[in-house]
């Protein structure tokens, strides 16, 4: 279980892979779609995130591949690992606690500036 928080892209990658195995390009599209376009990583940042998650053992390269007629052998497919599911759950819980804590008594949002 990682001790440090995950990046926004990493959270979205994990939640996307929690639903289905995906290859890089479809992962990128899915991340953009599920964040409503707010988080739209380019190819390099996405793969850097994927690389990091692979390194931390939160995701793995998938051995199972789609039916050959849909497949392109150069594509790499990724799947979430058990550790990844635990990390995602922990991160979501952390974010929810944070949001709950941050939400003021009256409904207003706080913007932090550096």
């Amino acid at each position: 279980m990682p001790t440090k928080p995950l990046s926004a892209v990493a959270v979205l990658v994990l939640s996307s892979l929690a639903e289905a195995d995906r290859h890089g390009y479809s992962l990128k599209k899915d991340v953009k779609e599920r964040s409503g376009g707010d988080v739209a990583p380019g190819a390099t940042s996405l793969y850097r995130t994927v690389w990091q998650l692979l390194d931390e053992g939160l995701i793995a390269e998938s051995k199972s591949r789609p039916a050959p007629q849909h497949d392109d052998e150069r594509r790499r497919y990724f799947q979430i690992t058990a550790a990844g599911r635990r990390a995602l759950a922990a991160e979501l819980a952390r974010l929810e606690r944070l949001i709950a804590a941050a939400r003021p008594r009256r409904y207003a949002s706080s913007t932090s500036r550096s």
Binding site: K4, S7, A8, G24, V39, A43, T44, V50, W51, Q52
Partner: protein, 921 residues
Amino acid sequence: MSPRGMAVIVATVRGLVRVVLLAHPRAFRQRFGAAILDEAAEDVRAAAAQGWPAAARASVTAIVDAVAGLRVARATTGDRVITSSTQVLQRERVVMRIWMRDIWQDVRHGARSLAREPLFSLAVIVTLALGIGVNTAMFGVADRLLLRGPEHVHDSARVRRMQSIVQRPGSDVQRGGTFGYVTYDALRTQAHSFEAVAAYQFYEDNAVLGRGSAARYVNRASATASLFPLLGVTPALGRFYDERDDDTANPAKVAVIGYGLWQRDFGGRGDVIGAPVVIDDETYAIVGVAPRGFTGADLSRIDVWLPESLPAFRPIRENWTRSANATWLSIVVRIKPGISDAQADAEATAIYAHAHAGGGAGWAGELHVRPLLSDRDGAVSLESRVSTWLLAVTAIVLLVACANVVNLALARGVRRRRELAVRMALGAGGGRLARLLLIETSALAAIGGLVGLGIAYVVGTFMRSYLLRAIEWPGSPINVRMFLVCATASMATAVLIGVLPAFRAGALDVSSSLKAGVRDGGVRLGRLRSTLTVVQAALCALLLVGSGLFVASLRHVRALDLGLQPDQILTFSVRRGDIDTTDQAERTRERARRAAFYPSVLERLRQRSDVDAASLTIGLAFSVGMSQPIDIPGRTLPPELTNSGAFVNVVTADYFRTVGTRIVRGRAFTAADRHGSAPVAIVNETMAAMLWPNEDALGKCFRADGDPCADIVGIAADAHHFLLREKPSMSFYIPLGQETRLGGVTLLVRPRGDASRVLSAVRQELVALDPTITFVDAALLQDRVEPQIRPWTLGATMFSVMGVLALVVAAVGLYSVMAYFVTHRAHEIGIRVALGARSADIVRLVVRSGLALAIGGIVIGFGLALLASRFLEPLLFDTSAHDPAVFAVVTVTLMAVAACASVIPAIRARRIDPTEAMRTE
């Protein structure tokens, strides 16, 4: 967006992302590099469907993302309160902003420290601007000649040019690029390898547009209607002529005009369709306008396109669709997808052989498909090959410039050791220092690149208007591609010149640097700088040898004995309208008047003081060649002598004096040799030797094309007919008036004094003598020869410019090293002076070190030149790539420059005050 534009953008994005990826860990790059490049390209392609702005946005995003990806490892959701996904994005922007702020700080600092040393900055910027500028300009030329190919050609990868390799009995293997209509027809109807076949012919300045005083030369091409769909071009206006217009039995008198002509002569008007255009006194109806920059399958400007079936400029009039003897057409093909060049060659060769079945015993021919950019003979053109070399040469100049800047930067690094050491002592990491230095060099390279663009513009304009005039250049001398190349070259330069000093900054030993004085550059640094100087001198020597060889070639070309003197010969031919009367008596009178015109002109010209000699000729070197079959009564000549016949020139009395061809033996023609007098002839030395090998040809007689037997009264020196390099061929002269079946008189004038003034004076005289003249075609014969000299002019000019440029840059480099040498060893020199060394000894010491570096460079440079000679030699003209004179001149030049560059520091060394030098410690 055009597929080609898209391909350029995608390739650029891939290239830039690939460069940025180098900054990522190697393991990451190996695992995901390919996927990232593919997906970035995919994104750009998808965006390109929405047009240029979207494509540009996607390109920038992909590159920025590759940079931003470097930060991914550090970015987390954790250290700030995240309340919405929008703020996730905002947070990432903040990270970027901090990063940008750091850089901005460094930029400002770099700018300040560069401004503190304006001389250093200026030297670097000028050096880089020259290097980058000439590279960009040269890329523009190479891009046009070698890479891009003709404009408006759709899917150009499948378009090829046809080349023939023919073996005729009794002669060498000949490579050629011209064919008869019969070959085109056979390929078109029988070949299955090709989607389309087209034929065309084109020469520069081959047609006269308009009539009267407004008439001028234009470039006309005649092409089969199939050329336009083959290339995939769409007209700017109207239509291209089609197969019905280009009917061999009944061609339509229609024309497609070029975009430039449309703009210039018709004001770009839309109602030009259907308007008449007069070409060579014939009127054609305009059916369409070719798009801007369309040059067919070549690169030269074309003003008018006419159907090939029109009898406009064909060498044979009768049976032209079937004759296999005359060749005048270039053939281009579009190969079907999936057909290899070898398959296409095999099929085309079979069809060619079948079509030439009547070629006779021993005839063997092959057809080959070649890249479109090969020249008309199917070989890679000489100009293209020279351009390739020049591209390499300019890259060398940039290398020399970079070496010089590194040298300057290292010297500056020594001066800044204390500053950098202080910074490190205050806690700046090696990485931060390296970044600072890189930002400084990037700023210098960026400014250098901008100035370089200006230089590229100037150099490009010069090359376009003087060296490569025949090429159609669309747009300005600077285009997007050149800008990209310039930017890339600048960035690469920044990295190249920044990395070494930055690396050294990282390895700085803080405590010793803080303690040490300026003097301690370190022996290693000195050695590095000397090595760089030797490299510069070597590259410089290489370039100078190249330029010397090209200059020698050019001199040999110019000094070539052509057997006549084209730079001394003005040629005039006149055009008149048809005789538009049906009255027989009137027609006869007019013909007689026209026949009397030239003799009266000759008479007038003889009285002019600015005319040395004048004569008339039918058939003209470098312009029109005519040959006739010959035979000798009572002898059977072997077929290799009779097959191709002999060139014939029909000339008046002063011809040989006018053109400068020597009469070796016998006599020239006189006014008494004319119509009705005894038939006489003058043969050239080759003809005399071939027909009468062991006898005297004088007094013998031969028949040309069945004419009465002509007595040989003189033997003339061989003269070239078409090419600078050609084997002498049989050729003979007969007096004007004794010819049959030959026509087309040209007036030749040998001027005394300024040729161009005589040219216009004679032109005016001709028009004044005969008001019915519609056009006078006047030129210096040398203008016809000049295109053949162009590759050597190009090579000599550009090599010399680059060589001198490199020499100047290298001299500055050597000077800076020697100046450094003197500062560095001031202490030692001081001791020497104190011990009684005379100032001459000191000067000798410094200059000797400078010359040693130069000699090292010369030796290495000559080694490189000898290695390259094998490839360079085919481009030279009668010049050995080992020409000792060239090497000697280069040696002397380099040594002289090296001596000059070392003398100033040497003189400064002489003035070193020993007490002062020894006290500084």
